[in-house]
Subunit: 354 residues, 4 copies
């Protein structure tokens, strides 16, 4: 009963076979291989646009490298108050950008709200060169709280950004889950809606380790090879990433995997409606689900082999409170989650609730 994170799952057989196949012969190093080129082609077809993609082994690296190409060391990046780039990447974004600051929207909401971003921009100290200059907006899709943004919501956010001269970054560690949930064209959720650079994650959704930095605005990719190299992310036998991406994107394999993960989450959320001692914290549409759980139940479930993480209480909306005897937790399903696993979880809750 593993609901800790989708990065605890293994990898799909297609992806594994592609890696094995790619390493059975010689190929050029440092991204000059056939697989890197092919992955760029497949990404162009998938997003239906010209683009330039680079590949790394972690989502943290992808986000930090992308941001480093978008802002100056004295700039700031506006983001959700629970954003991965703010909370979960140590002080790496500052290292990669040469010092840029993450600027969380102060309102505690489960989604980025264009009005909140606009209001924040209006209130920011802006006395150059003393104050940090906001220069990018980072959106996460599927977002930090398991929700997804429709294409017009992305467009509304990027419109606010554009008006304030901000570039737009999209953290797509779970972008596949968002596309699967919304059933729209990936281009509609990204470049057509005003996104400049996105990070597209395959790792959490069936790959071994494969994250793409996708430049829709190719002018931002100038000198990007130097950024990759000097951060140690220019892998020598770089075919590892291209091979995974080609296999992952082929035949909508990525969306099949994501649909599976989403469906497992839906099954879980349906069960939650009837379970004692545990309840949805808010509505979710991706493969992440946030719950409020009675503390004794959480402990019993953990002891019974259920893996799920207690979550930051500050993720709750400003107008909600956790009771003293409950906690916020996150449950993540993956492409590898079985119906049986969800059902076993429901049975475990029923068995251990008081």
């Amino acid at each position: 009963m593993i609901f800790g994170s989708d990065n605890q799952a293994g990898a799909s057989e297609r992806v594994l076979a592609a890696i094995t196949e790619a390493y059975r012969c010689h190929d050029d190093a440092y991204g000059d291989d056939h697989h890197t080129a092919a992955a760029n082609e497949v990404l162009r077809a998938t997003f239906d646009t010209d683009l330039e993609a680079y590949f790394v082994s972690s989502g943290t690296a992808a986000n930090m490298l992308a941001l480093s190409a978008m802002v100056q060391p004295w700039d700031g990046v506006i983001c959700h108050h629970q954003a991965h780039v703010l909370l979960d990447e140590s002080t790496g974004p500052s290292l990669f950008t040469g010092g840029a600051a993450m600027m969380p929207v102060p309102e505690r909401d489960v989604r980025l709200n264009p009005q909140a971003v606009e209001s924040m921009l209006g209130r920011l100290p802006a006395d150059a060169p003393h104050n940090v200059r906001a220069r990018a907006l980072s959106i996460t899709q599927a977002n930090e709280c398991g929700q997804v943004y429709a294409a017009d919501e992305i467009a509304a956010l990027t419109a606010v950004a554009r008006h304030a001269n901000l570039r737009v970054h999209l953290d797509g560690a779970r972008f596949a889950n968002a596309v699967a949930a919304l059933d729209v064209h990936p281009g509609d959720l990204t470049w057509r809606a005003g996104v400049d650079v996105m990070c597209l994650g395959a790792t959490k959704n069936g790959a071994v380790a494969a994250e793409a930095i996708v430049f829709f605005d190719r002018s931002l990719a100038d000198d990007f090879g130097y950024r990759l190299k000097r951060t140690g992310h220019l892998t020598s036998k770089a075919r590892l990433y291209g091979a995974q991406f080609v296999a992952w994107l082929a035949d909508d394999h990525w969306l099949d995997l994501a649909r599976h993960a989403n469906a497992a989450a839906e099954r879980l959320r349906r069960e939650l409606a009837d379970l004692p001692g545990i309840r949805l914290a808010w509505a979710c549409q991706s493969n992440e689900t946030f719950v409020l759980v009675d503390r004794p139940l959480f402990e019993s479930l953990t002891a019974a082999g259920v893996s799920m993480y207690e979550w930051y209480p500050d993720a709750l909306p400003a107008d909600e409170r956790i009771g003293d005897d409950e906690l916020l937790a996150r449950m993540v399903t993956s492409w590898a989650t079985s119906d049986a696993e969800v059902d076993a979880f429901a049975a475990a809750v029923r068995a251990h609730a008081h």
Copy 2:
């Protein structure tokens, strides 16, 4: 006829099978998985000592992270004038260390010489805080010019370092080739000879992408997890590296692969003794061979499908000169180089020499 680099080879079947096996089930993320733990155990057994190892996807990352744990931002790292950390990692070492400088030994020699290091240390400007403070010595094994250092030579270098209060880093991107060439215990070439931290590369010798940062001095590993994380090198499904290392080290597989590469290089060097228009630039003992080639022959060979790289002329010892009509080139064999490939190369030289 691929002699460009050992990082153009594929991966061994054992390593590929290990990756596939590792990703067929769930496991914990961020290095808390079973494979990372197992790789640490196998490394302890291989080096016959307590040690602490971390894993990344590139040798550049390994070197930079290792150095960042060894020096302060105002320190310098003494290294060979052709060292990878000096020439081939862009300005990454400075980024990772917060500013530390690489300090090449000025003498143009094909190997680091303890007397040259000592003499350099005696001449360095040392007016604190104006001048850079030398604080580490980086040794490459097998070295930048395809040679290897015997255990007592390593010990002589580390003794000079220790006397000057320098820590010792060993860049072991081709350490397997050195161990195979010298046929000594890995511990004798490292911690028993005074090395504090080594980077052990598997990538060039049969792995997909796997480099270990091995702390023999575990006190230097304090907070190292933060260094990994904030540089984007804490991969989520980190079993990728542990799985490769376990398979690579098991049953002396790493040494079998390295012996193969070295034997192919020996076969090549025997052929070179009799070939027209091309000659050994200096003696080599690993899987790298450096040659002086007539320019027209080099071009004919390239046209005929031979891959080998023209090399930095400054790699030549100070007392040697390249003729106007020849160039320095590097030829690298790998675990995947066949005898037939070497023989075909010799035939090609005979066919194209004038």
Copy 3:
């Protein structure tokens, strides 16, 4: 009628004479001069303790250098939500520390509250190495909102910090004003209350450009010369700072200047009680005064030659709101503010209020 900032004032004659005197002969460079040594001695006497002091030309430099000696690049510094190190030093603190993050206490209060700091520490994500590790607390005295902390309040804050393994930094750009307002021994407000490193500013209080970084915990000053040098803050003819500090501290000159500035502020605040269209935003005890002003009045005053700055609305406590037709503004008096200037201001308000 200059109330914009105390850094718009000139310098006291004593300080100017000391500079002139110091530069009439030769002296050693880079801080090895007699004035730097003398300033250290005078600071030891003033604070009644052993300490080590370094000198720079700006408060921003002093703060950033001090913090760089207190935290690692992956650490965070807890501070007030209006702190200078957070808002007014661009992304410099990150540059100097190698990446460390400023972590504002989320509660909007006009002073740092030990309970709020403790509560924040309890809620911070603390999953190493993913989250930023809080490692220092920065206190401003006199504080960001013109208030001062009594010695026992400083001690209460440092106790919370010590309990969480945080070091304590004190930003004393207006420390003289705090000492003058509280009339206590400088040691009681600093090292005796648990402060590790303070920045003592003379610039705003009668000097030309002179800020001291004072290490009460001298172990934190290791290698500090390198920090000064590589940030360009090791001035060659460094006597500039020592000469100013000696003159400034002699005969309680610094406190006389601060008392004058505070008295002018008190006079201003007394006037405000009776003035139309303008009112105190909250109680103040130093030379800074925060007011809520009717917008038309603010504009009339500006046109009439009154200099004062509109201030960040987020500086207001969480439970206060600014009306649409008023704004928050800051008024600063200095050692050079005359009674006549305050009186002229009061007359101007009466003349222009509607």
Copy 4:
């Protein structure tokens, strides 16, 4: 008998009076004051061109800030093998530029030679993104060895740089001495000869602490205020620098001071021709003189109160050797050196030579 450095001298009365005068009234902060504006005007008149200047307190800060505006973090700066930016600024240039490397011309010559720079550029490893990309040339005038470059020599160097797409920085810590020695228009030695950005030092030549970063190419000054601020070099009461520069440049005061220092050096060099146990190491034209001294004589002179620094032996040209019983030393005269001091030195040598 102080020949240690020109930064051990005091400041000229004109400069001191200007500082005192500037701080007798209020003025705006952070460079918005009247003196900063006036200094820009005077610099424009002095160099006879449009330019944009910023002011800081140390030559190290000026150089590092200038370079940070000229190169990317993955670039390199070609410089003399004894350049201040290479040897005497710790690892600050790397910090300020975000990682850029200093690349010394390997030939040991007392001056930068256009052919040597061109040859170096031709041999540099240039495999992007692995190798450092040369992007700027830094010239020192008067140079590291006390010599000066004529206008056409500067132009020859900048032509080589321009051809290789390098920008040109001029470290003018002793630029006044060069102008005085060459008796040419300052514009002829800088922008008319192809210099993009220069650092003009007043500190060593009569000021208290005043260095200008002068952008002849104003496009490079974009966002420069942020660079100043985040490095702590945006002084609040910034009039300090403008006031000094205006006084220093007025009525050719800067050249008068420099001529005095140069004349003292000439007197010294004339004496050296006849002195026992000490001889010129090479020809010099500025206020710096390099000598080879018998070790016992050096020690006797030091004991007798002569201050002069033993110098880096690597500063000697490649074809010169220091005898075991002598050492290289530097002697610097200043605007404050008297004839009597030079004569006393000559007498001391005669008295102590064996």
